[in-house]
């Protein structure tokens, strides 16, 4: 079969099927690496255009729409799958291996979807496949967290389906193209994307679920779902102004939570949320520069965020905890992990020569150029904030701070390799962004390394570091504490169950009282009837005459009443 006529997603699904047949061990782990490589090669060699059309159930489905936007996302997804699987080389859990492949495949399938139905299919596919990475922790907490995650993800899917149906009825088309927000259909699609993109108030599934997944599962989870949503927003709603404000709020509020959060993987989940905000702003601005910024930032972000999750995951893998309050001083025995973590931290903080620097600036420049000054100021604040909590807090509390006395062994070789490769790419993009720029949806004529940009960025970062240092030394900085911080999920984890319980109790009490009343009444009537009419009853003793007299009496009474009334 010609490779063009095979959707890339099918490569992953076939890989998953093949995987089950292979014996557990290196062969499987190697297959897990080979599939993304093959997929990336296929995507790379495919010419632009629509490659696979099927008519299905009376619908024309477009499975492989390859253009610049979908190609860059498919490539980075393949790369992320490769790095994630390399990091998970030691995993011998079939469930996790299969779901990693299906999940990546579904995400890539969704990126290439040319119509809303195909998008919906893969959209739900990512939800189903990914929940196993959370459940695979195999604890009660992970089971409950997985259920919450699944319900949120599937609701995103059904909302997308409903939106697609309404959109179909409005326009007669199912093609997944640019949409104007306004009709019920487009709003539903927008909200469906928004759930997966972790819009404010719809975001909590992310911070809830990612820290609950397995060590390797979190790395894989962090790459796909949210970036698929970013891709979909960029495809469908570029230039939608409301996204600018949504994105700005998204960059802002997670950084406050990140400062006081103890679980370092949840800190990263908050900062992931914050980074998505930058991309959403870029989509909202919708100029060529902004969209390039979004795509570029998604690529850089997938890499450094994976890298950070990998390094914290390695710590969890060796010590059994990822909580800031339990860690510290690990640099002594895990120096390489520490260095990779610092590279990831530098990249997310957008230090010059690291990937975030050359990608985030596209979005910031776009916001300034389009005169969104307030937004620009918010993004600048969020940049400083992200340096604060991801750039400094993560490496500092895990590897330095007060010595926890833990002396774990350095991360295993395959983890170091995966981290090393990702760190290399993060630096490579930062130093030499041209290859990345060439892949972006539009022409790039942007130079990040101007004197102004480098100096202002360094000023921002150094003074943020200064603030951290001063606050640390004056002991104003809030210490890491074992705690849970309430977020919007409180509404459905506490408030809603409480309301339901209260309502259910009231209803069942009324119900019980009601049925008890009727039960009593009917029993009384029956027992009275039984007393008078039963075999032992008074009337039965003189059965024929007695009952006849009664009936005649009743009849007379009724006649009398009727007489009076008429």
């Amino acid at each position: 079969m010609a490779i063009e006529s095979l959707p890339t997603a099918v490569l992953f699904f076939a890989g998953a099927a093949l995987l089950i047949m292979l014996p557990q061990g290196r062969l499987r782990a190697a297959l897990l690496l080979a599939v993304p490589v093959l997929a990336a090669w296929q995507v790379w060699t495919l010419p632009f255009g629509d490659h696979v059309q099927v008519n299905f159930f009376g619908l024309d489905l477009e499975l492989m729409r390859v253009d610049k936007l979908s190609r860059i996302f498919a490539l980075i997804f393949s790369l992320a799958a490769f790095l994630g699987n390399l990091y998970a080389w030691h995993v011998r859990d079939t469930v996790q291996q299969v779901s990693a492949l299906l999940y990546a495949g579904a995400a890539i399938g969704a990126v290439f979807a040319g119509d809303l139905i195909t998008l919906f299919f893969y959209w739900e596919g990512t939800a189903i496949a990914s929940v196993f990475l959370i459940w695979a922790r195999r604890t009660e907490g992970a089971y409950h967290t997985g259920m919450r995650y699944l319900i949120v993800q599937i609701s995103s899917g059904v909302i997308l389906l409903a939106g697609a149906v309404l959109y179909y009825r409005e326009t007669g088309s199912l093609a997944f193209e640019h949409m104007e927000l306004g009709s019920p259909g487009t709003w539903l699609i927008f909200i469906a994307f928004g759930i997966k993109a972790a819009f404010p108030l719809l975001h909590n599934w992310l911070q809830d679920a990612y820290p609950a997944a397995t060590v390797t599962g979190t790395v894989i989870l962090s790459s796909f779902t949210t970036k698929l949503a970013i891709y979909s927003l960029a495809r469908g709603f570029a230039g939608t102004e409301i996204l600018i404000y949504i994105g700005a709020v998204m960059t802002l509020f997670p950084i406050f939570y990140a400062v006081i959060e103890n679980d370092l993987r949840r800190v990263l989940a908050y900062s992931l949320n914050n980074q998505l905000g930058f991309m959403v702003v870029g989509i909202g601005i919708g100029t060529e520069l902004a969209l390039n910024g979004t795509a570029a930032h998604a690529v850089a972000h997938i890499l450094y965020k994976s890298l950070l999750f990998m390094s914290v995951g390695a710590v969890l893998f060796r010590t059994g905890t990822a909580k800031g309050s339990e860690l510290g001083g690990l640099y002594k025995t895990m120096p390489l992990t520490m260095i990779f973590c610092v590279v990831g931290a530098a990249a997310i903080s957008a230090f010059p020569l690291f990937s975030g620097f050359v990608t985030k600036s596209l979005i910031l420049s776009a916001s300034a150029k389009e005169h969104y000054y307030i937004i620009w100021a918010i993004l600048l604040f969020a940049s400083a904030g992200v340096f604060h909590h991801s750039g400094i807090k993560i490496p500092y509390f895990a590897f330095f701070a007060h010595d926890s006395g833990k002396r774990p062994k350095e991360a295993p070789l395959h983890m170091l390799l995966a981290m090393g490769l990702t760190a290399f790419l993060s630096i490579f993009i930062g130093v030499y962004p041209e290859p990345l720029y060439a892949l972006l949806p539009y022409e790039v004529s942007y130079d990040s390394y101007t004197a102004t940009h480098v100096i202002t960025q360094l000023q921002l970062l150094f003074f943020s570091a200064l603030a951290f240092t001063v606050l640390m030394r004056t002991r104003i900085y809030p210490p890491e504490l074992r705690s849970v911080n309430l977020d919007a999920d409180w509404s459905y984890r506490r408030l809603l169950p409480n309301i339901i319980r209260a309502v259910a109790n009231t209803v069942s009490k009324i119900w019980a009282a009601n049925s008890a009343f009727w039960h009593r009444t009917i029993s009384t009537v029956i027992s009275r009837l039984y007393n008078s009419h039963g075999p032992e009853g008074r009337i039965a003793q003189v059965w024929p005459t007695g009952s006849m007299v009664l009936w005649i009496a009743i009849l007379l009474g009724v006649t009398l009443i009727v007489n009076f009334l008429s």
């Binding site: 159930f57 739900e124 195999r138 089971y143 259920m147 319900i151 599937i154 059904v158 149906v165």
Partner: protein, 386 residues
Amino acid sequence: MRGNNEEHHARFFASFSLAISAVMGIAFASNMFTLFVFYEILTLSTYPLVAHKGTPEAIRGARTYLGILLGTSIGFQLLAVIWTYSITGTLDFTKGGILEGHIAGPAVAVLLALYAFGIGKAALMPFHRWLPAAMVAPTPVSALLHAVAVVKAGVFTMLKVGIYIFGIDFLAETGASEWLMWLAAYSIIAASVIAMTKDNLKARLAYSTISQLSYITLGMALATSMGALGGGMHIAMHAMGKITLFMAAGSIYVATHKTNISQMNGLGKIMPITYGAFFIGALSIIGLPPLGGSWSKWLLILGAADTGQWVMIGVLMVSSLLNVAYLLSIIGRGFFLPLPEGVPTKVTESPLLVWLPPAITAFGTLLLFFYAGVLQEFLMPIVSGY
């Protein structure tokens, strides 16, 4: 059956065959009277199946079963059939319906109510109690009752009445089915909510069935061709998915003698095929790709969109989520929570003939996704051509 060492095989299989032939009779009936007769035969022939175990509990369940089904069919359905005949002079199933021009005003809604409640097998609330009551039956019977023959006979009759007695256009013009739509929507949500509270696996599946049957009633009550088509397709999709679930439940019972979900932690590890089949069946019921159930849901949502009934779209969406909550939680528990202490973690599937059927039907739901187009062409004649 044999796996559980149960008795009275002859009576069991005789009734079983009789029930199947009654279903065939319903399927091929060309007029409402024939259908009614076979409908009653089906009720009577399945009664011994429900009471099969002979325990007081089984007898009580069977009495509820018989009482509701016979009571509604004679009390309402027969009345409706006679009424229909008296005003139209015919009971033949005719494209576009036979009632148009013979009846008008609120009487249409009343007649529809007599039919809708008279078809107790469609388990429309509040005449749904017989279904959970019949849970006492052995598992193959449950599969037959809840997934295929009996309930499908009910909703099939419902569709027949909607399409061939009333006619979709007539329903749409008079708006007579609007209350039925709301009732079906209520049934969908309420039964799902009740299903969530049930710990007994078969009871949960029974309430899930009540909810899913109302999808089909809803499809008819939407009074659009897409809705009717979706309803018709959902008969097949739900049958395949739900029979998988019931047979998987039976397989779990045969292998472990467990009936309650809270006792089923970790069983997926020792019964991977059964649980795998259950997982696929559950996904199809929820309406997720790549399984058959997604198409019928798609058509139903299209139908709801055609009538501008936003609330119905919402109901279908919420129902999907409730399905996720009460079906996939079983999978999560089965595969990912630890087995109770002392249970060896080696694969101990039920006998081949017990786990193979659900595996086959699970595969069937997958095929139905890819061959839904064939099914659609098959169903197309019922809604087109007038």
